[in-house]
């Protein structure tokens, strides 16, 4: 069941790369789309099989691999993984769909994307720390190539920076994993085994810190974020969708799964710092986004801010905030993918991403009216306007976190206000205003180019109106995650002044 999600894309990838006969760009795209379409359908089937009442891991698949190393092929699924898998399957399909047929070495491109998708699915399902790490590291290489071969200007610089940062993250994570096993005298790297490990609090704190920094680079959290704007901007829209929509989630997923899961005591000790860190990331990302002149860069910075909400929810680790954080990961993935896709279309049609050159794209006849309308929708979703999915997930995070970290939560609310500021700047400059008569002979946006955006936009609206369909999958998992953590701070502010400091 689960292996299909991992191996189908990888087999597809190998087929595209190595079949002996000639494949045109269009054929490889279609083939990749079919593969990822099947994966997507398979994911939907997964939802029907998923047991909502079970808060443990489900659908185990186990195969010994290198038992003496403690490395086994061990997959399983819980609510958190399910959400991430769904996001991965959907966004892979979207990324493939939004790619343009005309590029250099298309077979290689599509093979790499499928490969990344399979690897990431594996990482989200891995029940073995080493397996997770391997898959986490392996996706690096194809992504590096995807950025450095098909990227925009400064792609080499960006790809290298990305590679080095992620590699560093890998080292830290591996150190933490090995340290946990070593210090805990565990011979097996299985997740269940690791959960049993009982370490002294100081050790836990050190190991957790390593994980936090390691995954923090991946998310990224300020100040480890500087690879992000460069990489996202240099990457082609499809790759940016994968990077921002899915791969950043590996960071928060890792923090929740391994940090929070394995070191609950240390987590509860560090959580106030985490909350501050999260709020700082939110504010920093949002404020910096306001100053950007390049819309893709602006969206990239918005991602930093929005991943901060996930961290806030995790830091507060109430049941509600965890559900919120997990849902926020999904909603952020959807919205960011939508934004990157639209920005990509704008760049492809207008030929620039500069705010001071864009204007009047809302023009119904000569502009990009549908793209503009969706840009308004996605910007507003990102800014947390109710009725769209961004609001409810952020709200759950806020409501869940407020009783624990009131000030940090309120600072994050300020962050959504700042989000509104830069998205209004973006929409005003890009969509509103008058077309420049000298330049405005842009190509038409075909329906095919709109399909991914329409799919995502539909999800953003539907899940915004009916958030139950999004949040209830992760409810049980959140409950069990939170139950594992000792409550050092009871939710007992009911009559206490909530405005106590950090």
């Amino acid at each position: 069941m689960l292996s299909t999600l991992v191996w189908l894309p990888i087999i597809g990838s190998l087929l595209i790369a190595f079949v002996p006969f000639k494949l045109t760009a269009q054929q490889s795209r279609t083939f990749a789309l079919v593969i990822s379409g099947v994966v997507l359908l398979w994911t939907i089937r997964l939802f029907t099989q998923f047991d909502l009442t079970n808060d443990a891991f489900q659908m185990h698949e186990f195969m010994p691999w290198l038992p003496m190393l403690g490395l086994n092929y061990d997959l399983a699924l819980d609510g958190l993984s399910l959400m991430m898998i769904a996001l991965n399957s959907l966004l892979t399909w979207v990324a493939l769909y939004s790619s343009v047929g005309s590029m250099e070495r298309p077979r290689f491109f599509y093979a790499l994307i499928l490969f990344v998708s399979g690897g990431v699915a594996g990482a989200f399902l891995a029940q073995n720390l080493l397996l997770f790490f391997l898959l986490f590291e392996i996706e690096l290489v194809p992504l590096y190539l995807l950025v450095s071969i098909w990227g925009g200007e400064k792609r080499d610089y960006a790809a290298t920076k990305f590679l080095l940062y992620t590699a560093l993250a890998g080292v830290l994570i591996l150190t933490a994993f090995l340290g946990t096993a070593w210090l805990g005298h565990s011979t097996d790297f299985s997740y269940q085994q690791m959960l049993q490990v009982d370490l002294a609090l100081p050790t836990q704190v050190v190991l957790l810190s390593l994980l936090l920094v390691g995954f923090g680079i991946k998310i990224p959290l300020v100040p480890f974020h500087t690879w992000l704007p460069d990489t996202y901007v240099a990457a082609s829209p499809s790759v940016a969708i994968l990077l921002g929509g899915v791969l950043a989630k590996l960071g928060t997923y890792g923090i929740f799964r391994f940090g929070l899961g394995m070191f609950p005591e240390a987590w509860s000790l560090l959580s106030p710092f985490l909350a501050v860190w999260a709020a700082a990331s939110v504010l920093y990302g949002s404020v910096t986004a306001i100053a950007q002149k390049d819309i893709k860069r602006m969206v990239a910075y918005s991602s930093i801010g929005h991943m901060g909400y996930v961290m806030l929810g995790g830091a507060a680790f109430t049941e509600l905030s965890m559900v919120g954080a997990i849902s926020q990961m999904v909603s952020h993935g959807l919205i960011l993918a939508l934004l990157f896709h639209l920005v990509g279309v704008v760049e492809a049609k207008v030929g620039t991403r500069q705010l001071d050159q864009l204007n009047g794209l809302m023009n119904p006849l000569r502009g990009l009216p549908v793209v503009s309308a969706l840009l308004v929708l996605s910007g507003m979703a990102s800014a947390g306007i109710p009725g769209l999915v961004g609001f409810i997930t952020e709200f759950l995070v806020f409501q869940g976190s407020y009783s624990v970290f009131p000030v940090q939560t309120l600072l994050c609310v300020v962050g959504t206000g700042l989000t509104a500021v830069y998205f209004v700047i973006l929409i005003n400059r890009t969509c509103f205003g008058r077309l420049d008569n000298q330049k405005a002979h842009y190509g038409k946006v075909s329906l095919t180019e709109q399909v991914p955006a329409l799919v995502l936009a539909t999800l953003v609206v539907v899940l915004g109106l009916q958030p139950n369909w999004l949040v209830h999958w992760s409810a049980a998992t959140s409950r069990s995650l939170v139950a594992a953590v000792p409550m050092t701070h009871e939710v007992q502010v009911a009559i206490q002044p909530p405005f106590q400091g950090f």
Binding site: M362, N363, P364, L365, R366, R434, L435, N437, A440, H441, G443, K444
Partner: protein, 431 residues
């Protein structure tokens, strides 16, 4: 008036910003460059314009003469058969002066569109109306409003509207119209000026209707001549217009209202108002040059000062308008462009399909074509004025040529404003 003289050697070249255009005008040309592409575009659009115009003038007269002061004129665009069959005075066998060789009643394409619409079904009129599958009379009324509101450009006509005779004529008509309606008569007694102002507006309906009654057959004839291969250059097209202007210059402008089968001469023909002076020239000034800023592109905020405080400084007509926002909100000419869209000749549709976004931005493409064609009409007006008020282009007297030059330069000066599109229409790539 075929002035086809070449530039006189006795005059030094113009140093005007648009010297090229000046020289072209002096050589008997148009502001629009003489290219086959331009000719094709303007003739095609004249034809597409003439069909809805055939409706405009009929309905304008219908409103001025029959609907009159109906306080709830919900059906003012539901023109009666009589007005649909009403013979155009410049077409058909019974014409006063036959300009178009076609029939005098409503154009067959118009009748077809009114009956079936783009929906292409014969459904009740009301359905087509509500489905907005109809001619946009609103814009024709807006043109009328522009003429009414810019009252300084039609001094004699307006002086008459403000006079006692007009008041008496209207009074008779108003009383007759509201006979047996004590409410409206009572209101009239209380607020006579309100009713009088409405009648003045209706007089402008008649004015514009009579103006367009001439233009429709002129454009139809030009289209036919082009199709027959008898009109081959832009200056020829312009000269046809110049001749047309002269030929009907003396046509009377009047306003009659028909109430209970009786004719009330609100502005009698005997007042001596002429087509050229009381309709054509004010129309060109009000609609081509001035009108009012589109609410979708200019702020009406008094403190922002985007709208000039002097009517003379209004330059928002088709010669100045930015056509690119057509199709957006707050751009009234969209209505006209949409009207023309239904009646484009095939050769223009083909042309548009090969440029820009083809069918998708056809409204803008035809709008720019329309702008070109109106530069040609304006050229005709300038040349006609030059012929009427100044000297032949081949006049041997250098002083006369200088006067002509001065006149042309004055006219073209109005296009020095940054928003004017004269420079754009010189270039074929502006589309």
């Amino acid at each position: 008036m075929n002035d086809t003289a070449v530039l006189s050697p006795t005059l030094s070249p113009s140093t005007h910003e648009f010297s090229e255009v000046i020289h072209r005008l002096e050589a008997g040309g148009s502001m629009l460059p003489d290219t086959p592409e331009n000719l094709k575009q303007i003739i095609g659009i004249y034809k597409a314009y003439a069909v809805p115009m055939d409706f405009y003038w009929r309905d304008l007269l219908y409103i001025a003469e029959k609907v009159f002061l109906n306080p709830l004129p919900a059906f003012k665009y539901f023109i009666s058969d009589k007005y649909l069959d009403r013979p155009n005075a410049y077409a058909g066998d019974g014409a006063d002066l036959r300009i178009w060789r076609g029939e005098a009643d409503a154009h067959p394409e118009l009748r077809d569109f009114m009956a079936k619409g783009e929906f292409n079904r014969k459904l009740p009129k009301l359905f087509h109306h509500l489905w907005h599958d109809r001619v946009n009379m609103e814009f024709a009324e807006a043109c009328m409003e522009a003429m009414l509101w810019h009252e300084d450009i039609n001094p004699q006509f307006n002086a008459y509207l403000d006079g006692d005779e007009y008041k008496q004529n209207s009074d008779l008509a108003i009383r007759a119209y509201f006979k047996g309606n004590p409410l409206m008569l009572g209101l009239y007694k209380l607020f006579p000026d309100m009713f009088l102002e409405q009648v003045k507006k209706l007089s402008y309906y008649a004015n514009l209707g009579l103006f367009w009654e001439v233009m429709a057959p002129v454009f139809f004839e030009m289209s036919d001549l082009y199709d027959e291969g008898k009109m081959t250059t832009v200056p020829e097209a312009m000269d046809f217009l110049v001749n047309g202007i002269f030929a009907v210059a003396g046509r009377p402008i009047f306003h009659h209202a028909y109430i209970d089968g009786k004719c009330y001469e609100i502005i009698p023909k005997s007042q001596g108002f002429t087509w050229l002076y009381e309709a054509a020239l004010p129309y060109v000034e009000a609609v081509f040059y001035r009108t009012a800023p589109f609410r979708g592109t200019k702020s009406y905020n008094a403190q922002a000062g985007q709208v000039p405080s002097d009517q003379k400084d209004f330059h928002y007509g088709i010669l100045y308008a930015d056509v690119f926002p057509v199709g957006s909100a707050g751009i009234p000419p969209t209505l006209l462009m949409q009207d023309m869209l239904h009646f484009l000749p095939d050769y223009l549709i083909e042309d548009y399909q090969q440029h820009g976004r083809g069918e998708d931005d056809i409204l803008i493409q035809l709008g720019i074509t329309f702008q070109r064609s109106m530069y040609n009409v304006t050229s005709a007006v300038i040349q006609a004025l030059r012929a009427a008020l100044l000297y032949p282009l081949d006049d041997p007297n250098p002083d006369h040529l200088k006067a002509n030059r001065q006149f042309f330069e004055q006219q073209i000066d109005r296009f020095k404003r940054p928003e004017a599109r004269l420079r754009d229409v010189q270039d074929q790539s502006y589309r």
